[in-house]
Amino acid sequence: MIDTLIQDSLTIANKALSHHQHSVKSIDIWMWIAFVEFGILIFLLGKGGFKSKETARQKFKKESLKQEIDFSNIINSSFNSIQLYDELKVKCHPDKFSTDKEKYDIAEALFQEITKNKTNIKRLCELKIEATQKLNINF
């Protein structure tokens, strides 16, 4: 009688242990599933939340870095554009062509362009050539 009781208690204890081990294994699986979900969430947040902001900023940066800068024109303009601008603004002033309507209009457009580009010697040189051709001015 005692033997059977001991055997029963042992089988119950074994059953209880095996059940506990099974539940521990199932907790492990759920923990890993939670980790994977967390990882997916972070990935999606990172992709959707931050990337759009970065791309707009990077796009602006990329576009700005693409354009070429003419440093020699900038340095040349720093010292020589004032003289050329002064010469052009006197010789191409629209009031000098007040008798000829057609030339007056050309001079007015040229004068506006000269004022707009008064610190860009390259453009001023182009305008000088244009003025010589269109307004017959001798520089």
């Binding site: 972070i42 947040l45 990172g46 931050f50 990337k51 902001k53 970065e54 707009a56 900023r57 990077q58 602006f60 940066k61 700005s64 870095l65 354009q67 070429e68 800068i69 440093f71 020699s72 900038i74 340095i75 040349n76 303009s77 720093s78 010292f79 020589n80 554009s81 004032i82 610190t119 860009n120």
Partner: protein, 130 residues
Amino acid sequence: MLNNTWNSIVDWFRDRSERNRLLRSFNESARSSFVSGVAPTLLKATISKGEQSYRHQFSDWLNTGFRIQAFTGRVLSKDELIHIGKVILNDSILVRRLIVLGWDTLEIHGDAGSFGCRWQLKDYIPLPNF
């Protein structure tokens, strides 16, 4: 997130390289213009501390000033300083490049005297809000 951090690190190094390349190109052009006689004065671009109140969204943490020094051997007049500054500020491509590379202040001064001029770069180009 990791990707963004990595991109930021790569961008930072790329910006350093671009900044140095811009300075080098400017100084080389200035030197060749001076040697060939196109420019009567030698200009030299360096990085300076910059003005804290001129900051914008692209500003670097430190050294945000783009300083141009004119080696004339005399004190430059205010008009001369302003003209050099205006030539640079009227070049929208250069101003845009300076802003994007983290500069926010343009400083012009001569090699003699303590007087100089400085401008806030963000005033000369419309910056989008990110």
